[in-house]
Symmetry: C2
Subunit: 573 residues, 2 copies
Amino acid sequence: MRRMRVALAQVNPTVGAVEANARMVIEWMDRARALGADVVAFPELVLTGYPPEDLVFKPAFIEANLRALAAVAARSKGLTAVVGFVDKRDDIFNAAAMLHDGAHVGTYHKQYLPNYGVFDENRYFQAGTESPVFTLGDRVLATNICEDIWYPTGPTTAQALAGADLVISINASPFHAGKAQFREKMLATRAADDLVCLAFVNTVGGQDELVFDGQSFIFDEKGERVARGRAFEEDLVVADLELDNVFRARLHDSRRRKEKLRSDGSARRIALPPLPAPTRPPLPPRETPAIGRLEEIYQALVVGLRDYVRKNGFRHVAVGLSGGIDSALVACIAVEALGAANVTGVTMPSPYSSAGTRRDAARVARHLGIEFLRLPITSVFAAYRRALAKPFKGLKEDVAEENLQARIRGNYLMALSNKFGWLILTTGNKSEIGVGYSTLYGDMAGGFAVIKDVPKTLVYEVSEHVNARAGRELIPRAIFERPPSAELRPGQTDQDSLPPYPVLDSILEAYVEGDQSLPEIVAQGFDEATVRRVIALVDRNEYKRRQGPIGIKITPRAFGRDWRLPIVNQFRE
Amino acid sequence: MRRMRVALAQVNPTVGAVEANARMVIEWMDRARALGADVVAFPELVLTGYPPEDLVFKPAFIEANLRALAAVAARSKGLTAVVGFVDKRDDIFNAAAMLHDGAHVGTYHKQYLPNYGVFDENRYFQAGTESPVFTLGDRVLATNICEDIWYPTGPTTAQALAGADLVISINASPFHAGKAQFREKMLATRAADDLVCLAFVNTVGGQDELVFDGQSFIFDEKGERVARGRAFEEDLVVADLELDNVFRARLHDSRRRKEKLRSDGSARRIALPPLPAPTRPPLPPRETPAIGRLEEIYQALVVGLRDYVRKNGFRHVAVGLSGGIDSALVACIAVEALGAANVTGVTMPSPYSSAGTRRDAARVARHLGIEFLRLPITSVFAAYRRALAKPFKGLKEDVAEENLQARIRGNYLMALSNKFGWLILTTGNKSEIGVGYSTLYGDMAGGFAVIKDVPKTLVYEVSEHVNARAGRELIPRAIFERPPSAELRPGQTDQDSLPPYPVLDSILEAYVEGDQSLPEIVAQGFDEATVRRVIALVDRNEYKRRQGPIGIKITPRAFGRDWRLPIVNQFRE
């Protein structure tokens, strides 16, 4: 029987930490070897971290990554490993090294370079043109990279036609809600269409605004899932593949399919010296059920925050607790990510803060067991008003005074940050950030905007989920029931200025994620004046978003790398 | 004699203002017609403005631009016009429409899409493959777009070989200091190499962080400059070309050169119906001398600021005047851009402000004739200290207290902005922003960072130039002579924390613009510990730069669209 034990090292590298990433790769290679794996695969650009962005313009960075690869190659004795790195020839390439028994024996260059959404790979890399396959005795192996697997007649097909039993796709595929299911379907189809075993290894962990969800997969040649990696955790996914089944399936393949898939001749064959068959200890059964939509989003936020904090060298975070739902949810996520001892809640009441929100802010802190500071803003606000009395003489109170309150709070938090080295988390959601319902340098002040890609309606859903999974009211019921308010003037509620959140969120989704026009959105049944106002607010507040902190992308289009709108923009729908 | 009168409409479109841009094109077409031009050319993407960024993902935006093109085409009676627009076929293209006598008769698709530096054109456009030429009776005309002209054997060569007498290159070529001279040399070489007349029309004006300098050119087939457009102003550049000279030059061309330039067959010929020869009034002589380096930088800052203010619908700006060189220069630029009546200077002294800086802030305002407000920060600072006394109990004063002062100033300015609708200009220079010697939400608070790409040493040079061109001391001599200081603690100077600015700026240029490594920079004669510290500061302060306002790019690499470094980044040189 032709058999192969394949291991997918679903690891969490750090951008720029080239030597540490290499040590991690060596460690996981050892783990795979101990499990009797024939081949172990690591994610795309695992040695540099993904995306390295303009770091790849530094020759010193490329050299460090090549040194790291050599070190890893030397430690690959007794097995085959696929390792993502930046290759340097006449240009640079997003590459997969085939390491075998202590040597670097072949290289694959990514052919389809994504340059849309959050991706800028044409900025950095030259595209590859070859689809080599590697023979290990009578077993045939190939690898390609991320975007390559999404093309129905791309490198995978070429490699299958050239005889590959197993194609390993190495990835750094960023998360958005629902993507894993979509990815799984696509991979199953690709495996079945190409009659090839498919192993998809994804990176895991957070990098700035991106979070990688892991959820690696192994499929057989029928497109049946053989194994699934854990979501949002490191995992070594190991499975045994019966390669003779691939052979049999191809024997029985209909003429129609064979003709559809014509080899383009780009598949060179590279023979690897055979290794003695490893001892293969029995594999423990894997149980990694798929997780639900809200849990997936929650985990993305937790891991995205944890890695941003940890990889930037912070230990402690602070959150302004207003008594509202957004800050309560952010505090819950922070506690899950970092532990209660590393989170401080700060309440900063004003004369406009209601008794209800004051009480609820304290309750959230108590339920979570976090440190709680109380810093009223009243006296500083009074000092500002005195200082500005002359230029503001005779003028009505307006947004200037409202924003001052938010900015005093921002200053308090930043003073704590400067004094104690804390990272400040902001609490704005996607709905607010979309329409600019937020104060620059006020509630937008901080290092990381945990829920900036979570629309308000989804904030409520995730918050309910947080309580449900905790089995108790981490977030008090009263917070869900009170109408949202910025509490910057007496009796204010969000709905004074904005349409109801379910309406706002639907319009925002159509406009921001769908690039739909005013008439298209109105045609879905929304009031024209409302749609017009929401669109105008989104357009007009680009300048604010540009100065806000980054946050975790969880939707197909976040206000981040995948949203590049000009500030000067006179286009009106 | 085969002759052609060519007009280059060096105009200032606004991104998104599709209808207004079309009206402007029609108006300038009329001006060119009145001058007897055979052909008038407009910049790249003149109908949408450049760069439109993700606006091109909106189908409604593309449609608006196509309607605008149809309107412009209908008004092209009696002449030929080249107009930049977004073409829609199976994909979208960065395109030039050939309009002729009221109809849209042909289209060129940009072939070389820049995807480096500030450019992301692969994100948006499909690349063209054809290099058509257009015959107007016995005269042959061709057009291509921006990046295309930079390739020695690109479309220009193909079009010249296909018989073009004149190639019109339409551009939106962003400014950096020294680029115009480089561009001029390249164009002269291209014209002479391809034995073709070359007309290079550039857009002019500011768009977010980019500024376009105009400086359009017309060259004859010997590579001699026939005309030059004004720098940083709209201009209609008109010249007469003797096309028989092109014919003669090609007759006498050596065999060697003919062989070097081999047609690739991509040049289709499209015949335009001939028009009656226009009456050609005599052209007034043009006198547009090249401007010097400092004047060019100064103009870029003035135009970049003016357009950001105007195109965003602002009228009035405010600048915090510290009594230092940066804010003095920004105030001078603002007055030049907007007029003294539209600029307010705000001094916000603290107990640490010296008598000298207090006096000089007032003098700058007086010299410029701008409104001057004085808002001391002492009492608000005291209120903050009282409010934070409990959490800060027993702790030393440090950067927390320093930053609070800067943030009070930021809040004052933003309160004025909110109350009066002013745009706040920040005054940080490239040296400070590079190493993070600035306070987030403090002196970094504002809508536009005028000199963010101007290193401190250049700030002094431009400031001297400002005084020299004014013929008087707009910026008092004392400001040049006093050691720079943030004045956030007693006796503080910048040089307590930073290397001397000439050293700092050289290291920053090597690291930021040159992507040089620590050993490479040290090899130029800098102290290793200093270089190491500067590099670490640049890396560590990425989070601050991400939240700073945009500003005008004047160097080959600004902290903006052309600087895409991760925040989480553990690469250490």
